[in-house]
Amino acid sequence: MIGGRRPIAGRKIADRRVRVERPHAPYFRYSGPGQLVAREAASERPKTATGRFLARLKNVALGRPLANEEEIGERLSKKKALAIFSSDAISSSAYATEEILKVLIAVAAGAALAYSVGISIAIAGLLAVVSVSYRQVCRAYPSGGGAYVVARDNLSQLLGLIAAAALLIDYVMTVAVSTASAIEQIQSIAPQVYPFRIEVAALSISLITIGNLRGLRESGNIFAIPTYLFIGLALLMIGTGLVRVLAGDVTPLHQQNVFHPPSPEPLTVFLLLKAFASGSVALTGVEAIANGVPAFKPPESRNAANTMTAMAILLGVLFVGITIVAHAFNIVPTGPGGDSVVALEAKTIFGSGSVLVLAFAIATALILFLAANTSFNAFPRLAAILAQDGFMPRQFGFRGDRLAYSYGIVLLAAIAFGILYAFGGDTHALIPLYSVGVFVCFTLSQIGMVKHWRAVRERGWRWRAAINAIGAVLTFVVLIVVASVKFVDGAYLVVLLIPTLVALMLFISRQYQASARELAVRPGLVVPLPHREERVVIPIPGINRAVIQAVNVGRSIGDDVRAVFISEEPDEAARIRARWEQQVPGVPLVVVESPYRALVGPLLAYLDVLDRAWPPDKEAPITFVIVPEYVARSWWERILYNQSARRLRTALLGRPHTVVVNVPYRREDPSTLDSTLSPESAPPPPGA
């Protein structure tokens, strides 16, 4: 960084001074001797007009790049955290009742619908156990106790990976199910949306993706309002409904559009278990608070644990309340394109066409979109942790221009939309894939917590371990029930997918470990001076300025320099040799005649021959293959030039003891050869 220097005369002789230019200033900042920090201008500098246009477009869509120090680390109050972390769990009350009813309706004459209330209470009981268990996780892991971390630290890496795979599936399914369900809510106020539900899903996922790529933070009030609006309106609806039930003011709803199950079924324990398994989707998202403990205001663990309890109570009340009211008013699921159960309930209680129905539908849709957004925060963060642990490609650990884990965000959006598209945007069809992963996570993290308490043995560890043990047993039983009763409906996909993902992660880890072993430098090793000899080989297409430049670079690397000319015609070879010997003395030219017109093959064979001819008692030399290259100025020039050079580089990639050096020749550069080369010797460029 040698700056230019401009003398300034000064008013007096003693005032003379020199202004020193600072060419590094737009791109770097010195933070100490020999230490530079790159500025925004240095981070990405597109060279072409198209590149600059695309970069501008990206800036408009995603915002200007942010520096690391611009990260906002806002802590959340309990009220805000409840809204932000609970949107996933609470929003599941919008479709969990419907899932129970869709199973029970299969029994003739609706004889089993009465069981919905009992099943919802049983699920609320399970929720109580799970939330009490997760309170322990909040206390034990103030740095955030996702199922992966708990299982990895307390059980084993493999079980940690199983939890991670289940979590990744869970996050993808949250986006798919929440988006599908949100669109169903929109349908209840705008039925004409139904034929375009996939397009609406694509639009909403795209908007959430762009928002997250811009570095959307869940700390704003914008995230709290829909959650509290939904909770408030849902409680009002349930309260009004229950008052009407107690007052005997119940007019059962006579629906025209009723969901028809594929085939009628008898009332069996299996059917009830299946309804329980479907309704247990209400528990999805419960672990979000335990994952996000560091985001709470201090004392983090206590605040998170209390928020967990508040969330569980709210979710339980909403879920059981919605189910009781639905049963009391004889509300059953509708067929494709019809209203959701909660929408029907709102219409029945608030009166069809009222402002409250509209507000409730909007609030429900918004909280469901927020639930999808929760996954957009959690999935990339988990992927980044896995990448840091070496179980996912390292790209997932890199943060993009806006400090967001861009690769994870884009992957989540792509898979979630793919699933939505494949299942036709139908919430009911997606549910069987959902619950299995959730209960795998619950079970593993609870077992991990039992081991944790046994290991730390702090005050009260016995009852804490007992709570987690009960949670583990219960969630494991539910896992078996969910996986078996919904196996045929689609749970088998998850049962297959989890081991596949684990195998993939183990494969990635093994690859990284193998490469790390190969690249490792023994600590304490003082690197000796290089002692291998160098050999320079320059493949030439003729004699031109680019070739001469490459020869000069070759001469600066070592003394053993030779040019190789692969020729199809002996006459042309003789001409080139005559000129070469006259114009480039001191550098031997090897002509390889190629009667089969191949270029790369004969050169590789020549390099092999050179290697074999090397004395066996000496260490093999490093061969520098210097490839002259003509720098193209536009995309069409790239098609015209350097095709042979490109093929050569590809062929030489990975060849042992070989270094490929590209020597670019730019037309714009002032050439030192102008005075020494005649004009007719300049064209043609190499590799054309």
Binding site: R5, R11, A14, D15, R16, R17, R22, A25, S31, P33
Partner: protein, 152 residues
Amino acid sequence: MSNPEQPPFRRAVIALNGGPADERIVRLAAELARPSRAELVAVHVVEIDWTLPLDADVAGRSDEAQRVLDEAEAVAEQVHYKIEPVLLQARDVAAALVDEASERRADLLLIGLSYKTRFGGDFAIGRTVPYVLKNAPCAVWVVREPIVEEQQ
């Protein structure tokens, strides 16, 4: 400067010496300059002794000289203000500062001063500040660092 209706300054030269006072005076200057959107020029002078030509390649190669200005620029960016960093080579720091302020028609020169004592306990003001106070055509503000406990 005496008229309270007028902005305190329109263009100020901030003299940086690489010491801990630099951050303080850059922040102060930025805050004072903000209401009137005054121009701030941060100057760091590298003294060239007489054994070398004045235009010797010294400051351009000095990471330390670059760091002084880069850090000042970073401090200004933190408080959302723009400064123009200037790196100079001169035979005498004080003369270069005065001349730079004069040529740029600056109406304020801000200079930091560290609290140092001579052997015997007297305050050592150095030679740059007195020269600037005596010769600068514009107003001069000297910001002395706080005295740390051990030095009292």
